[in-house]
């Protein structure tokens, strides 16, 4: 067992740091979050992604022939650690790089890879995800958006919901029903890559409890998707989709990001008074701070464990199965603690630091729903990992 980085790793780390110093405008480090979900923040993320892409650092481990960096997993980890430490903005094409790309690389044809991957990395084409429907949330296999084959096209009719960033999307990962009668239902689902400029698509932003509109309703009225944009075989889309969900893993960068947030909470506790004394002197707050710190550290260590297993060529270790379950609930505890320290300021509208915490506090409630609710994830652990019957 060894938790140290090798000299080559450290050399790469220095390279990343130096590059960040030259390419990341200082104010960006915090500005993006303050901008919230807006056109401005999206444009900042897009500009940042372009700079990273030029350096070969979007999709660092993806094959060079499709515009990736051809780097190692270890380098990817160091890169995301350093980005988090520098508080660099996120990239614009989160879903493209996080989900669409890996799925297309695993399941796509050669033409699809050549067509889509480079533009995912450069940010030229922003991706969104159209899985959920009004009657198909946790029970995703119940989806009804109907696709009927018409020559070289599928004609799609139906409604999607909670589609994040569909308002910015150029392309969409779309799950549709191609066989309405088959049982079990998941055997009649097909995976399509839909151009969002196709006639018949209407996107209506939904206002979230944060006040922002990250996600949308999406109405599909006779939308024609070429059969060549099908990922995998007809009626086999469920298996591709399950692959996609497996790519939604929390990484090391995220672990470092949470540590930064934790440090902020410590500073907040030091300067905020509760009942006449600094919050950090309050023994209940101290216990909660410690618990959050321990959980942040565990998240980092779990990522190391996954990384170490992957480097040895092993499949996902047990810790990977619950990483999202773990951090989503941890983030709720952390943001609740910050709100508690701030007290009434955390619920008053306005601007400034308190509002940032207010936003994080509200946004964290979505974490245990999106990408598989905590209940569904506990079912998955119970049934698939521990083998307890349904």
């Amino acid at each position: 067992m060894d938790f140290r980085y090798s000299p080559e790793d450290e050399a790469f780390r220095k390279e990343v740091r130096d590059w960040i110093k030259e390419n990341l405008p200082e104010s960006w480090a915090t500005e993006q979050e303050a901008l919230g979900i807006s056109e401005d923040s999206f444009q900042m993320a897009l500009e940042w992604q372009k700079r990273l892409y030029k350096r070969g650092w979007v999709g660092l481990t993806w094959p060079k022939e499709y515009g990736g960096g051809g780097g190692t997993l270890m380098q990817q980890v160091i890169l995301s650690e350093e980005m988090a430490k520098a508080r660099a903005p996120g990239i614009a094409n989160t879903l493209g790089v996080g989900m669409a790309g890996p799925t297309i690389l695993s399941f796509g044809t050669e033409e699809q890879k050549k067509q889509f991957i480079p533009k995912i990395l450069s940010g030229e084409e922003i991706w969104c995800q159209g899985f959920s429907e009004p009657d198909a949330g946790s029970d995703l296999a119940n989806l009804k958006a109907r696709a009927i084959r018409d020559g070289d096209y599928y004609v799609v009719n139906g409604q999607k919901v909670w589609s994040t960033f569909a308002q910015y999307g150029d392309r969409c990962l779309l799950l549709v029903r191609t066989d309405p009668d088959v049982l079990p239902k998941h055997r009649g689902i097909t995976y399509l890559l839909m151009d969002m400029k196709t006639p018949g698509i209407e996107v209506k932003p939904l206002k979230q409890m944060t006040g922002d509109s990250e996600f949308n309703e999406m109405f599909l009225d006779n939308v024609r998707v070429p059969v060549s944009n099908r990922l995998g075989e007809e009626n086999r889309g469920w298996y591709v989709a399950m692959g996609t969900l497996a790519f939604e893993r929390a990484g090391m960068g995220q672990a470092i990001m949470f540590k930064q947030v934790l440090n902020e909470i410590f500073r907040l506790a030091a300067k905020t008074k509760r009942n006449g004394i600094p919050a950090i002197k309050d023994s209940t707050i101290r216990q909660r701070l410690a618990q959050c710190a321990i959980e942040c550290e565990i998240m980092r260590l779990n990522s190391y464990r996954s990384l170490s297993t992957s480097l040895k060529g092993g499949g996902p270790g047990p810790e990977e199965m619950f990483s999202k379950l773990f951090w989503s609930e941890m983030n709720q505890r952390m943001t609740e603690l910050a709100a508690q320290i701030l007290g009434i300021d955390s619920v008053i509208e306005g601007e400034g630091e308190a509002q940032l915490w207010q936003y994080r506090f509200l946004r964290s409630r979505g974490n245990t729903l999106e990408q598989g609710s905590s209940e569904i994830l506990r079912n998955v652990i119970g049934e698939r990992v521990l083998g307890i019957p349904r």
């Binding site: 938790f3 101290r286 618990q291 321990i294 550290e297 209940e375 079912n379 119970g382 307890i388 019957p389």
Partner: protein, 383 residues
């Protein structure tokens, strides 16, 4: 970066599991609940034959030259089997102290005997103040020519009643800094002036109050620098705390496995109880907590072994998480088992009791969390 068990460690784990399933079944654990010694000398000898007491000792002293991470792998299995006895006090406190701070005579004299299973040692740190820091050390050591005179009372000393030597932490010089003036003595447990009252915990472990009544100890039995031993004591406590984490994770793993099996087998309302999410999700939570515990426990073991600065955070973090986990998993295991899990003859209560006893050793989870915050405050203040 390497965060998986190597081949030898996996082998050790397998051998330890087989041996302990065979030699330390629950019937043995129950026998020891009322045994005066609280452990079996025959089993102790057989463990020595497998090289366990010498696992961390260099070959020149009859050991196998392993490291602390190897030891933690072994202790996890001991926790799973609920092995009673003075293994951790002897090997982790005694062995590490002599190896790190003993003179070459002491090493040559004692380490081979530890490896051969001939000696049992323990650490006497706590006193009536029940503190775990240097301020809690009041027992005095007064220098007299070629020896020291030790007086005071140590409490909760594990297995002192069967120890050959007791490592006594004493104040040998007064100073405004509590961590200055601490010495560590290797005291013959049979020596004049020592008296011992044994108490038994509800899981059959022995904790002794050791009275030092003007005990004469030769200067040759000083371990490490006189007056400057607090860092060494701290290292022993760190090693011990991580050993507790390993016991906790091993025990929690077993309680969890029993619960999962029961959730699959026990039929109520015509189906396995595990089909109910109230039960299934409890099992899922156990799994998450135990695996997280394993991550942080191995990190702490590595940090302590390497002596890197991270250890000051890793140890209290691991202790808090692992002991919380053990307690929670064992409690939920009783719930999953229903009435049978509440009976004296069922094994789950043995785990529940062990979990609670372990938590108190070197400070409960609240205490560990307080240490974590202090350390983080210190780190943030120094940038």
């Amino acid at each position: 970066m390497e965060f998986t068990l190597n081949e030898e460690q996996q082998m050790l784990k397998g051998i330890a599991r087989d041996f302990l399933e065979n030699r330390c079944p629950k019937a043995h654990v129950r026998d020891m609940l009322t045994d005066e010694k609280g452990y079996s000398p025959e089993l102790w000898q057989d463990m020595a034959e497998l090289g366990w007491q010498g696992l961390m000792l260099p070959e020149e002293y009859g050991g196998t030259g392993g490291d602390f991470v190897d030891m933690v792998v072994l202790i996890e299995e001991m926790g799973r089997a609920l092995l009673p006895g003075p293994f951790i006090p002897t090997v982790v406190y005694g062995g590490v102290a002599i190896l790190q701070a003993g003179t070459s005579e002491k090493k040559n004299e004692l380490l081979p005997r530890i490896a051969q299973g001939e000696l049992s040692l323990t650490l006497a740190l706590q006193e009536s103040s029940e503190r775990f820091d240097a301020e809690g050390v009041a027992a005095e050591a007064v220098e007299k020519e070629d020896h020291y005179i030790l007086s005071g009372t140590k409490i909760l000393v594990p297995y002192a009643h069967v120890a050959d030597y007791i490592l006594c932490v004493c104040r040998s010089r007064s100073s405004s800094d509590a961590e200055d003036g601490i010495s560590l003595f290797l005291v013959d447990a049979e020596g004049e002036g020592i008296s011992c009252i044994t108490r038994t915990t509800f899981d059959g472990r022995k904790l002794c109050d050791v009275k030092l009544g003007e005990v004469k100890v030769s200067k040759a039995n000083l371990l490490g620098e006189p007056h400057g031993c607090w860092p060494l004591v701290k290292r022993l406590v760190d090693h011990g705390s991580v050993a507790m984490c390993a016991e906790a994770i091993g025990g929690a793993q077993m309680a969890m496995e029993m619960s999962i099996s029961y959730a699959k087998e026990r039929i109520q309302f015509g189906r396995p109880i595990g089909t109910n999410q109230a039960i299934k999700h409890k099992c899922a939570n156990m799994f998450v907590d135990v695996e997280c515990g394993r991550s942080i426990m191995y990190w702490a073991a590595w940090a302590v072994d390497e002596g890197v600065p991270e250890a000051s955070l890793a140890v209290p973090m691991a202790k808090s998480w692992c002991c919380d986990t053990y307690r929670r998993v064992a409690a939920d295991s009783i719930q999953v088992h229903g009435g049978i899990g509440f009976t004296w003859d069922h094994d789950i209560p043995l785990y529940f009791k062990r979990a609670k006893t372990l938590e108190y050793t070197f400070g409960d989870c609240d205490y560990q969390r307080e240490i974590v915050v202090r350390e983080l405050e210190r780190q943030l203040a120094s940038g």
